[in-house]
């Protein structure tokens, strides 16, 4: 990858931001106290990470076809990710999982 150009620099910065968001999301999914907070961390960064990483990849694509393919992946990820989170939260609520509140100690892990 050619970092020397302005576009290359921009792509590198975007991808690093994306990698940071992704990593933070993973950390949140591991460290947060209850299911809904974990889902909050994971699902938000599941949208933020791909936006930055895939736009970065689009900038360093060599042909238009590749850039369009990456863009398509981004669009589908942005559609399906939040939908899956919504369905998962519905499933969890359905089974009687209540979100933990700050003053409710029983929910903490």
């Amino acid at each position: 990858m050619d970092v020397a150009t302005t576009l290359g620099w921009l792509a590198a910065i975007l991808m690093l931001i994306g990698a940071f968001f992704t990593f933070v999301g993973g950390l949140g999914a591991l460290r947060m106290p209850d299911f809904y907070t974990r889902m909050h961390a994971a699902s938000l960064t599941d949208s933020a990470g791909p936006i930055f990483i895939l736009i970065g990849l689009m900038l360093i694509s060599e042909t238009w076809l590749v850039a369009i393919k990456v863009f398509t992946i981004l669009v589908f990820l942005l559609i399906t990710g939040p939908t899956a989170s919504n369905a998962l939260a519905s499933a969890s609520l359905l089974a009687g999982n209540k979100p933990g509140l700050a003053n409710d100690q029983s929910e903490a892990e």
């Binding site: 559609i79 399906t80 919504n86 369905a87």
Partner: protein, 326 residues
């Protein structure tokens, strides 16, 4: 660089496998097998096996989870254990000895990526040299699977077909087993967001499946992957709207015909080659020039594979769903 990534992925694969074995809760095992599938697809890709990775992606991402859950709905989620869980001395010894033999055998294997490995000396160069001459398609894997090893692929199609029949004969006719539920309680109709998004994506999944089917000679893909993708789209529709709607779109009769006609089409191409003066599954004689004949043959048998796989996967889903009310 890629090797280091692969080592990490292998490590995760082993951890996932151990967790799957030690878990007593079958739902947990199903979820972990989903992770296993994701990891092994990445591992296949790192080993440059894009076609296999695409198969794993198409089957493992959606369908296998759905089918596992369908099976799980028919039984207890808790794994039952007979008596005390103790390690038997005999099995321990057998496992240990086998492990020692296997580990010992790996020392005689060529190193990873070794250019002097037998496979890179005889078979692989022959394929790389002859696929452009014999059939003139860029994806060598499709050439090997479709033509040189057409017998293997024919066998696989019949295995898939037999699996479909096997599931049907164990679980019974999906139509007769259909449990009648009130209309408002079918599928995920009340879940507006999944329903809207799912319905919106179904055409794209089918379109991508067709791309994988007909572009399989140029990029990773082929009948198996395309069949799994199209089946995933139909199963998604069934999940969203209930099986009754899905059965209206593709009735069981059509599915049975798809299952059988795909295998028939594949065998028929072989017989046609025979009748036109060639060997069984020798496509060279199918058209005016051998190269065109090979291309036609591969296109037709891939269609057969796609039809059978789609039909069988949807049939298996309906068979489970009718029983389990999924």
């Amino acid at each position: 660089m890629v090797e280091i990534l692969n080592i990490f992925i292998m490590l995760m694969l082993v951890i996932t496998a151990l967790a799957m074995v030690s878990s007593r809760h079958l739902f947990v095992t199903v979820m972990l097998s989903g992770i296993f599938s994701l990891l092994i697809a990445a591992s296949f890709l790192l080993l440059d096996a894009a076609d296999v990775a695409l198969t794993e992606a198409a089957v493992g991402a959606g369908i296998s989870t759905v089918l596992f859950l369908g099976a799980l709905a028919l039984m207890d989620v808790e794994e039952t254990t007979r008596g005390v869980r103790r390690i038997r001395m005999v099995s321990l010894i057998v496992v240990a000895v086998t492990t020692i033999f296997i580990v010992h055998a790996t020392f005689y294997m060529p190193a990873f990526g070794d250019i002097n490995a037998p496979i890179h000396q005889h078979v692989a160069p022959w394929y790389i040299q002859h696929v452009p001459i014999h059939m003139d398609i860029p994806n060598i894997v499709t050439g090997i699977l479709g033509s040189y090893r057409g017998y293997d692929t024919l066998g696989e199609v019949f295995v898939v077909f037999t699996a479909g029949i096997g599931v049907l004969s164990i679980l019974g006719d999906p139509i007769k087993n259909r449990q009648h539920r009130p209309a408002h309680n079918r599928g995920l109709r009340h879940y507006l967001i999944p329903r809207l998004v799912g319905r919106m994506l179904i055409p794209f999944i089918i379109l991508f499946g067709l791309y994988v089917q007909f572009h399989g000679e140029y990029s990773p893909g082929g009948g198996f992957q395309a069949g799994a993708l199209v089946a995933a789209a139909i199963i998604l529709y069934a999940l969203l709207e209930g099986e009754d709607k899905a059965l209206q779109v593709i009735p069981m009769r059509v599915l049975y015909i798809m299952m059988a006609s795909g295998a028939l089409l594949y065998g028929g191409v072989g017989v046609a080659a025979l009748l036109m003066g060639g060997n069984f599954l020798d496509y060279s004689v199918l058209a005016s020039t051998p190269v065109a004949g090979q291309q036609w043959g591969i296109l037709l048998i891939e269609m057969g594979v796609g039809l059978t796989v789609t039909g069988v996967l949807i049939t298996i889903f309906h068979a489970f769903a009718a029983r389990s009310n999924l």
